[in-house]
């Protein structure tokens, strides 16, 4: 059983986002990046399945920068192997979307002979479609998104799919399959810095793309900052002043 988990780097959303001059992308020069939190859940679920069944886990990333550190962390977390598809950053083009990267990942998944692909259900910049259903559609495999529980039994996988309002369903899927994970069975594990240091000098296996990006609408898209002139009445001042004002609002509304 070979599980491939796909990891993506996302801008840190608590950082201030600024737009590139052409409005086609965010200004990525100073923005921090982090592992997509939902891919973090997918990595944890892959390692949990490995511990339960003895499956092999390969972490796969497709990045221009930061991919080595990302994959070394995956090894420290329990992945058996890693592969980096090393992108050449085109300064004049927006960062490739999940849709654009999809053929490169499909090619790698086929070469890795994966039985199960786990990735996060979404990334906050998946404007042209989430990754898991696109991979599955291209591979011709079954797929389910918003998954919170996964159990493996031979060539069949059982997953819990979450719906709005607390509804859910257990689905049985034939392998190979793709899962868009929302929540791992257990929260992502903490890895000590000393364990991360064990992998610092490791040479991450990599390859250059052997297929082309898919087309998307990134050249037909312009980004804007939302209009902030409407919205909340802002309360300013020290912590005590803010607390006093909130308390007053609650009192006036009869809520305390």
């Amino acid at each position: 059983m070979h599980i491939v988990t796909i990891l993506r780097l996302n801008p840190v959303l608590t950082d201030e986002l600024e737009l590139a001059d052409d409005g086609m992308d965010i200004d990525r020069e100073w923005i921090g990046v982090e592992l997509n939190p939902l891919d973090d859940q997918a990595l944890e679920q892959a390692v949990l399945l490995k511990e339960q069944t003895g499956a092999k886990v390969t972490a796969l990333a497709c990045e221009a920068e930061g991919g080595e550190k990302l994959l070394k962390t995956a090894l420290a977390r329990g992945a058996d192997d890693v592969l980096l598809i090393r992108l050449e950053q085109d300064e004049d083009a927006p960062s490739p979307s999940s849709r654009a990267r999809m053929p490169l990942l499909v090619d790698a998944i086929n070469n890795l002979s994966a039985d199960l692909v786990l990735t996060g259900v979404l990334s906050t910049d998946d404007l042209y479609g989430e990754l898991a259903p696109q991979l599955a559609a291209s591979l011709g495999w079954p797929q389910a998104s918003a998954i919170s529980d996964v159990t493996l039994d031979g060539k069949v996988i059982t997953v819990r799919q979450e719906y709005a309002g607390g509804m859910a369903a257990y689905l049985e899927m034939d392998l190979p399959a793709v899962i868009g994970l929302q929540t791992a069975t257990k929260p992502p594990r903490y890895v000590a810095g000393s364990k991360l240091r064990d992998f610092l000098t490791l040479q991450v296996p990599d390859q250059h793309p052997t297929v082309n990006f898919a087309s998307d609408l990134s050249r037909e898209t312009r980004l804007e900052l939302p209009d902030t002139s409407v919205g909340a009445e802002m309360i300013e001042g020290s912590a005590d002043v803010i607390a006093e004002r909130i308390h007053k609002i609650l009192s006036e509304k009869g809520l305390v």
Binding site: Q134, A169, R222, K253
Partner: protein, 320 residues
């Protein structure tokens, strides 16, 4: 006129609110609306079609595997209908089913796809949509000229924007071979109503990822207790295991409408807003000036919540 094919999502015999919202959005852009319903049998189809408003026709596919939502058989059915009818636009809600179907359908049928759509306009052959990305911190405006698939945010339009039609849409049954389906629905789980039910809460205090760790939950719990509010969390808080699932508000949690929704460290991503936007009074504390929740809240404060929360708790306890 352009035609929109809208995926009619339903659960437990009830059409999702988002379906008639999508019809209103499409009608507002001057599109003719067709629906596609996948269900277990003709009786279910007729009952669901009767809940639709603004649809001229509905294409219906019945099969035992479609009794409950099945990602694989539904995708096969949708792909077949889209290939047959060739609508200009296919619309799904940005729901679990929408995430399963929209992007996959786009790949299967060679269409462009745009997600997180909150606005739609059509001028001649050109379609323009606005989407909320990066957790709602940016708006993306995209122009499409070809056949496309759009995943629409719940609440993008008011369903009553379309005049109530006096008759149900014409239903056309269609046969589709679903034998390639490789997913089986084993069990449908109803919401757990034995514990906390946030949908009934009058006051909710919700914390987000900025809380930083489970060890800091006591600060939030103390405020919630002083306020007489139920304590809730955004998705990252629940995913991190800091609170049980029953405490989650948002797209994948509980939809709430309390008299007070006080929130700290929650950015206000569209998935969270979907679950609490109808709250009567929203007060948001956040240290990020760009947090989209400030566009939705009634009152906001740009602050360090670890300074404000204890101060507010003291006031609520009458210590100041």
């Amino acid at each position: 006129m352009m035609r929109a094919l809208i995926f009619v999502e339903h659960l437990d015999g009830t059409v999702s609110d988002a379906v008639n919202e999508m019809a209103a959005l499409a009608a507002g852009a001057g599109l003719i609306c067709q629906g596609i319903i996948c269900a277990g049998d003709a009786n279910a189809i007729n009952a669901l079609a009767g809940q639709l408003n603004g649809f001229e026709t509905v294409v219906a596919i019945t099969d035992a595997s479609l009794t409950n939502y099945n990602p694989a058989s539904t995708l096969i059915a949708l792909e077949s209908v889209v290939s047959s009818l060739a609508p200009d636009i296919v619309m799904t809600s940005y729901s679990t089913a929408g995430v399963d179907l929209a992007a996959a359908l786009a790949v299967k049928t060679g269409r462009e796809m745009v997600g997180y759509v909150s606005e739609l306009s059509v001028k001649g052959d050109e379609i323009e949509v606005a989407s909320q990305i990066y957790g709602g911190k940016l708006i993306a405006r995209t122009k499409l000229s070809g056949h496309s698939v759009l995943a629409i945010m719940p609440g993008a339009a008011k369903p009553d924007a379309v005049a109530q039609m006096s008759t149900a849409p014409e239903v056309r049954m269609m046969q589709v071979d679903l034998s390639a389906n490789r997913i089986r629905v084993k069990e449908v789980i109803a919401p757990d109503t034995t514990g906390l039910d946030l949908s009934k809460s009058e006051k909710i205090f919700c914390v987000g990822r900025a809380l930083g760790g489970i060890e800091k939950l006591e600060i939030a719990a103390s405020l919630a207790a002083s306020l007489g509010a139920d304590l809730a969390g955004s998705r990252p808080v629940i995913d991190a295991g800091w609170m049980p699932k029953a405490h989650q508000v948002g797209k994948s949690g509980t939809k709430v409408k309390p008299k007070l929704y006080l929130m700290a460290g929650v950015s206000g991503a569209p998935e969270h807003l979907e679950g609490m936007a109808d709250s009567e009074l929203i007060i948001a504390l956040n240290s990020d000036e760009q947090a989209p929740i400030f566009n939705k809240a009634h009152f906001g404060a740009l602050c360090d919540m670890f300074e404000v929360l204890p101060a507010l708790t003291k006031r609520l306890q009458g210590e100041t």
